[in-house]
């Protein structure tokens, strides 16, 4: 499979009469988008706002972040099986409005949503302080259940991103990247001396409000399977996830998975990027056993030399992570796991809820219990009503000067386990 991705640089965003891209600025007609969103009778009202990098703006509670993209050539369309017809994607040509994002906001279950600060200390912890954000705040129809509200907000966010993404189709990219993923036999023939490395991506699938969809399929109902990594760039994986903000993969993360980016960057040089396996993180223990049996079986069958395993979330997914690691290592394939830590505010507690001696190569995305004080910002998009309730916030954490003290887990993407982070240490 070969996918060419063209990036159109977006440096600013503004409301206007016509929705268009001109000289690096994304202009949005909010009225048009509003009537599109309100076609869904589950949504009572929708409010649009804009947040630019460096502005004194706090966005909360954040549900999802989505990058606008368009399919220019090749089969299928963006967000297949969800927004567009089912068809395999990941081939041909795709355009991206790089630097723009749709941020969905709303009280779904307030305490599991996150914060994006566009300036100050908080901005250093979230990658979405660097994007020009169209913020969409939904008000549900009275009496709507949290599950229906989540589904409506998810669908509306993707529809808006899809609509804006379409604008990129006719534009000339500022930069183009080509991702070529050979068949297994081609890869072995082409790079006979390079180690064959695979990627096992674990997807959050604990249940309603904690779900991930692949081509529209609820991942908790799927057995472990394979994907061509370029499919993720066309929106094959989307987030329906309301777990703690720091380590949930938003749809934007799935569209721009840095593990995949880096494996492609090394492909043909230091390694042969040979396979991508996706698996779930279910609550039922028998599901965990089955799914990890399957990851190990697929990795063994593919005869890989090594795999990178990325986790999503904390707590019971630690058990899935260790099961995957242990069972894959037992087949003779070496593993590196990517996770984050809940090591207490002083960092001295055990970081994971499970462990095994075979998990001897680990990359950490940071300690989610780390406490930070975020300064008062001039404007809040959304509401601070839930700030003391979100995971990582604590009661009474908004002090008189308007600053708030939270654990890093309250900040969207702060300790993302795909490594999509702004800060690092070596």
């Amino acid at each position: 499979m070969k996918l060419e991705v063209g990036y159109i640089r977006i440096c600013d965003i503004s409301f206007a009469e016509a929705t268009e891209v001109k000289e690096g600025t994304l202009y949005v007609n909010a009225k048009e988008l509003e009537s599109m969103v309100l076609e869904d009778e589950r949504i009572a009202a929708v409010c649009f706002d804009i947040a630019r990098p460096g502005e004194s703006v706090r966005i909360t509670p954040v549900k999802d972040v989505i990058e606008p993209r368009a399919k220019v050539e090749g089969p299928g369309d963006i967000f297949p099986g969800v927004i567009t017809k089912m068809s395999t994607v990941g081939m041909g040509k795709t355009h991206v409005l790089r630097g723009a994002a749709v941020v969905t906001v709303g009280k779904i279950v307030g305490f599991q949503e996150g914060i994006i600060d566009m300036s100050g200390l908080g901005a250093e912890y979230t990658p979405f302080s660097k994007t020009n954000n169209l913020v969409v705040n939904f008000t549900p129809k009275e009496g709507l259940s949290p599950h229906e509200y989540e589904a409506a907000a998810r669908h509306a966010g993707l529809t808006i991103a899809y609509t804006l993404g379409k604008l990129s189709a006719a534009l000339t990219p500022d930069e183009t990247k080509v991702y070529e993923f050979p068949s297994m036999v081609e890869g072995i023939k082409k790079y006979p001396d390079l180690p064959r490395v695979g990627y096992v991506q674990m997807l959050q699938s604990q249940g309603l409000l904690h779900d991930t969809y692949v081509y529209g399929v609820d991942m908790k109902k799927s057995i472990t399977t394979m994907l061509c990594p370029t499919e993720t760039m066309d929106g094959a994986i989307i987030s329906g996830n309301c777990v703690s903000a720091c380590d949930k993969n938003t749809t934007y993360h799935h569209q721009n998975n840095p593990v995949i980016e880096d494996l492609f960057a090394e492909h043909g040089k230091t390694l042969n990027f040979a396979a991508m396996v996706i698996t779930n993180e279910n609550v039922y223990l028998a599901d965990k056993e089955r799914s990890s049996d399957w990851t190990a079986k697929l990795v063994d069958y593919l005869d890989l030399d090594g795999v990178i395993i990325s986790q999503e979330g904390f707590g019971n997914p630690d058990t899935d992570l260790i099961m995957n690691c242990k069972k894959i290592e037992a087949t003779g394939t070496r593993t590196v796991i990517i996770t984050n830590e809940y090591a207490g505010r002083d960092g001295t507690s055990q970081s994971l809820a499970d462990a095994d001696p075979s998990a001897d190569a680990l990359v950490t995305a940071g300690n989610s219990n780390q406490v930070v004080t975020l300064p008062k910002l001039d404007r809040v998009i959304g509401t601070l009503e839930y700030t003391e309730k979100i995971a990582g916030g604590f009661a009474g954490n908004i002090v008189a000067d308007g600053s708030i003290t939270v654990e890093l887990q309250a900040i969207t993407g702060a300790t993302n386990e795909l490594g999509f982070n702004l800060m690092s240490a070596r």
């Binding site: 279950v109 305490f111 599991q112 309603l208 279910n282 039922y284 019971n316 055990q350 309730k389």
Partner: protein, 130 residues
């Protein structure tokens, strides 16, 4: 003994919503107690030979971020299941690491909904297993 826990399984919960919803289909043991108390009760059942069917740290919600927990165990009893013993032990250690915090009453309903959603979804996938 079925590995998937055939028959009417046991739900240990301190979530009134879950207790109410499942009282006719499961053997519900409702505790008006803390999350840690629920985990300790689950440990005692595991030690007496019941198998853990769902992971007690479900939801990626840290033990001090929610007050509610519902855990499903097999009705049938056998020898203490080693994996269940290990998992519940680790969960209790994890829960003890976090100090329980007082959360305003207006947040409790959301937490009950999240716990209920997770245990309901687990029971859905359990149907596929049986």
């Amino acid at each position: 003994m079925s590995a998937f826990g055939g028959g009417t399984n046991i739900l240990v919960t301190n979530n009134p919503m879950a207790s109410e919803l499942f009282e006719s289909t499961l053997q519900v043991e409702y505790l008006s107690a803390s999350l840690l108390d629920v985990l300790v009760r689950v440990r005692n059942l595991v030690h007496s030979g019941h198998t853990l069917l769902t992971h007690p740290l479900s939801g990626s919600v840290k033990p001090n971020e929610t007050h509610y927990k519902s855990v499903l165990l097999s009705k049938s009893r056998g020898k203490a299941d080693a994996q269940s013993v290990q998992i519940i032990g680790e969960c209790i250690l994890a829960a003890q690491r976090f100090n329980a915090r007082q959360l305003p009453a207006r947040y409790l309903r959301d937490m009950q909904i999240v716990d209920l959603s997770i245990i309901s979804s687990a029971l859905e996938t359990k149907k596929t297993n049986s």
